[in-house]
Structures are given as C-alpha cells and as structure tokens.
C-alpha cells in the first residue's frame, strides 16, 4: 500500500508539469499571435494602398479615364446583395459622369457556375445600355484551361477572349443570343473549356439586363447612399 504522502506528492508533480506545459504553450501562442498582429498592423496601410491601386487599375481597364470628369471614387453608392448579379455581399457601384451627364456605371458581379467556385467580374456599362468592357477580378478556373477568361492568362494576346463583349448591348446582340456559341448564342468559347466561358457570358448578360433595368435609380441615388431592392 502506497503512503498517502507519496500519492499526494506524485499528484502535485503531475499538476505542476501540466500547468508548466500549458503556460509554455500559452506563452508561445501569445508571442506568435503578437508577431502576426504586429506584422498585420505594420503592413495594413501598404496592403490597403495596393488593393486600392489594383481596384483603380481594373476600373481604368474597363472605363477609360478620359471618358468622365467626375471624382469616380467619391461618386459611389453601396449596393445591397443582388441575386441577379450573383452577389451575396454589399458591393460598390461607381458612377462616371461628364459635365454632370451620366456616362457609365462600374459595378461588380459574380458567376457561381464556373468550373471551380466563384468567378468575380467588374463591368462598365454605359448610360445607353452597352457593356463597355468587363474583366475577371478573381477566379479559380483550371490553370492553362479555363483561365483564358482572364486576359493576363489568355494566350491570344492581340484579341483576348474577354474583349469580344466590348461595346455590345442588347440592341446589337439580342438577349437570347447573349450566350456562348455552344448554347446557340454568338460568343466564342474554347473547345474543351466551355464551362468557364459560359459562366462569364451568362453572368455578364444577367448583369447587363439588371443594370439596364435599374440604371435610372442607380444614377440618381445620392452619393454614398444605399441601393435596396425596389420590388420583391
């Protein structure tokens, strides 16, 4: 039979080791969390600046800076999540004007039916209902296969796939023809990688239809106000 004192000592040493180990784990966690938090704090301004520059560059790609004269980034409204745009989060809509007259809207949209995950788009749509240009801002399509929807990855450098939508509206391409050729529409797709092209084409068609329907409200809302769904 073991002496009660011996048992008590053993138990206290187990407890001591456990507490010590836990304290070391806690110390490591705190030290490395501090390291991450410090790096985050130190780099956040730079990261935000480059994200803004990237956004401006993308806006500049779909909407040539010479076509408007207002402060585009200030003349923006917040858009509540729009199912027709494939969005389930708040986004911004920027409004380009020249001499006060509406020129174009720059907005974001997303395709949910890509080959793998969400394809995010930025589109510029003119006041008279033409898709000025669109770009893919984020996607996870197969590298070397479906990623030609991004002109940086498109092997056709002179006329990337995404540029065939430029300056088209439903007056030139009827709504039911706004599809890839494989679906009976008029837009090309690459053989063997139709899904990515179909997702982008259909998403841009939906976005254009939605914008044309709502353009008056989008242009007239007070800057920095919020666009809510008008009807159920």
């Amino acid at each position: 039979m073991t002496e009660p004192i011996e048992i008590a000592r053993r138990e206290s040493s187990v407890l001591r080791i456990s507490v010590r180990t836990a304290a070391i784990m806690l110390a490591f966690t705190m030290a490395f969390t501090a390291l991450m938090a410090g790096t985050y704090k130190a780099t956040a301004p730079l990261v935000e600046a480059s994200a803004l520059a990237e956004k401006l560059r993308l806006i500049g790609e779909v909407l040539p800076p010479g076509t408007y004269d207002n402060d585009l980034l200030a003349d923006a409204i917040t858009l509540s999540p729009q199912a027709s745009l494939g969005l389930d989060e708040d986004t911004r809509v920027w409004r380009a004007r020249k001499n006060g007259a509406p020129v174009a809207l720059v907005l974001e949209a997303a395709a949910r039916d890509g080959y793998s995950g969400r394809i995010s788009l930025i589109l510029a749509i003119t006041a008279d209902g033409r898709l000025l240009a669109q770009r893919v801002t984020a996607h996870k399509e197969t590298p070397g296969l479906g990623d030609y929807i991004d002109p940086k990855k498109d092997r056709n450098k002179t006329r990337p796939w995404i540029t065939q939508f430029s300056n088209l509206g439903f007056d030139l391409v009827p709504r039911e023809k706004w599809r890839v050729k494989k679906d009976g529409g008029r837009f090309d797709q690459m053989t063997g990688a139709t899904i990515s092209a179909r997702a982008v084409t259909n998403a841009s068609g939906r976005a254009l239809a939605w914008t044309v329907e709502n353009r008056n409200k989008l242009f007239t809302l007070q800057a920095n106000s919020r666009f809510e769904e008008s009807k159920p």
């Binding site: 490395f32 991450m36 790096t39 780099t43 730079l46 197969t142 590298p143 070397g144 296969l145």
Partner: protein, 229 residues
C-alpha cells in the same frame, strides 16, 4: 564539411521530399499544371522551409517534447502569415502572382515533417541548410512535373512568365493548332506524371546500386581472409 554535403545530397536526391518521401502531394499536384506556377510555388516553399527550420532550431531548447507538434504548427502558421503579409506589402507585383500559393504551403506537410525530423534535433546551420536543400529538391521535381504537364497538355513552356518578367513570353513548342491534351492538365495527369518520375528515380537508383555491386565484385576478388564484421 561532408556532413553539410550529405544534408544537401539528402535534400536534392536521396531523401527528396517528393520522389523519396512522397510528402506534400496536395499543393504539388494542384499547382504543377504549368512550369511557371510550379517554380513559383517551389520558390515560396523554399522561403518557408528555410525560415521555419531556422526558427524551430533556434527555439528547440524552449519547446517541451510533449507539446512540440502544436508549437511547431503554431510557429509555421505564424511564419507563413507574416511572409504572406510582408509579400503583399513590400513586393506587391510578385504577390499578385505568388500570393495564392503562400497559404497553400501551410497545407504542405513536408514543412512540418522536416521541422520534426531534423530542425528540432539539429543546430542552426545544419537545420537552415536542410530547409534550403529540401526546398531545392522540391523545386526541381515540381518544375519537371510542371514542364512535362504543360508540354503535353498545351504544347508550350513558360506560359505566363510575362506576369513575373513582363519582357519575356512563353514559348510555343508544338504547332499553334495543337489541340491540347486535357488529362495532363487535370489532377489525373499529375498522378500519372508523378508516378513516372518516381519510377524513373527508382530505376536510376537500382541501376546505380547494381553498378556498385558489380564494381565491388570486380575490384575485390573473394579474399581468403575475410575481415570479421
């Protein structure tokens, strides 16, 4: 000196992370569909392995044995986060290309494997060299895998290099109208090519061993008085 040489040889060939240990296949197979992506992931992996081996070798005296694995994971994840943020802030152009690969590295168990098997038991210089060399071994295999898949899959090499060096462009090797070979670009193609590479390594090793054995037989005719082992 020869200890360092052995570390280098282990990393590049003998205990190559992919060909011999067959570890870290998830990012390997996902990203090796073309050469530029493969090398990009490889370079990011070198940086992470170098730093995590260094950090853990430096802290190894402070880490209790019982909780070493959670502490290793904590340190690796923290380092990867710091590298990710620093890349984004200071090398933004490169980050746009490599950025998506950096979080993938946390899922690469080879980092944890080297930390546990080597850095936790060895000095700073040896551990750092081991991280570097294991990374180099990873890079050359993933580069080869990426090159083979890109060549078979779309008939090019270095496609997408203009995103890293704007003055360069990819090379079209097979004729422009090459229809591509879809399966090479998809995960099954990665498994096929990886299997062939591993088989190739085993064949080379087997041949080298065979040669060695023949040479020994040739050089040393059966001695009458064998030295006791």
């Amino acid at each position: 000196m020869s200890a360092y040489k052995e570390i280098a040889w282990n990393g590049i060939w003998k205990q190559n992370t992919i060909l011999a240990q067959v570890l870290g296949l998830c990012p390997l197979l996902a990203v090796s569909s073309n050469l530029v992506n493969a090398v990009s992931l490889g370079l990011a992996t070198i940086v992470v392995m170098l730093l995590s081996n260094f950090a853990i070798s430096a802290l190894r005296a402070l880490i209790p044995y019982e909780i070493r694995i959670p502490v290793f994971i904590l340190i690796i994840a923290a380092l990867v986060t710091v590298i990710d943020l620093a890349f984004n802030a200071f090398l933004h152009d490169l980050y746009l290309v490599l950025g998506i690969f950096i979080p993938l590295i946390v899922t690469n168990c080879i980092v944890l494997a080297r930390v546990e098997a080597f850095a936790a038991k060895n000095g700073l210089r040896a551990a750092t060299l081991d991280g570097l060399m294991m990374g180099v071994g990873f890079v050359w295999v993933i580069a080869l895998l990426g090159a083979v898949r890109e060549f078979i899959g779309q008939g090019t090499l270095f496609a997408g290099i203009e995103m890293i060096f704007p003055s360069l462009s990819g090379i079209q090797i097979l004729p422009e109208d090459y229809p591509g070979f879809l399966i090479a670009m998809l995960p099954p193609g990665a498994f096929f090519v990886l299997g062939l590479l591993i088989a190739g390594r085993n064949w080379l090793d087997a041949r080298a061993n065979q040669r060695l054995r023949e040479k020994r037989l040739h050089d040393q005719p059966p001695a009458p008085n064998t030295v006791a082992a």
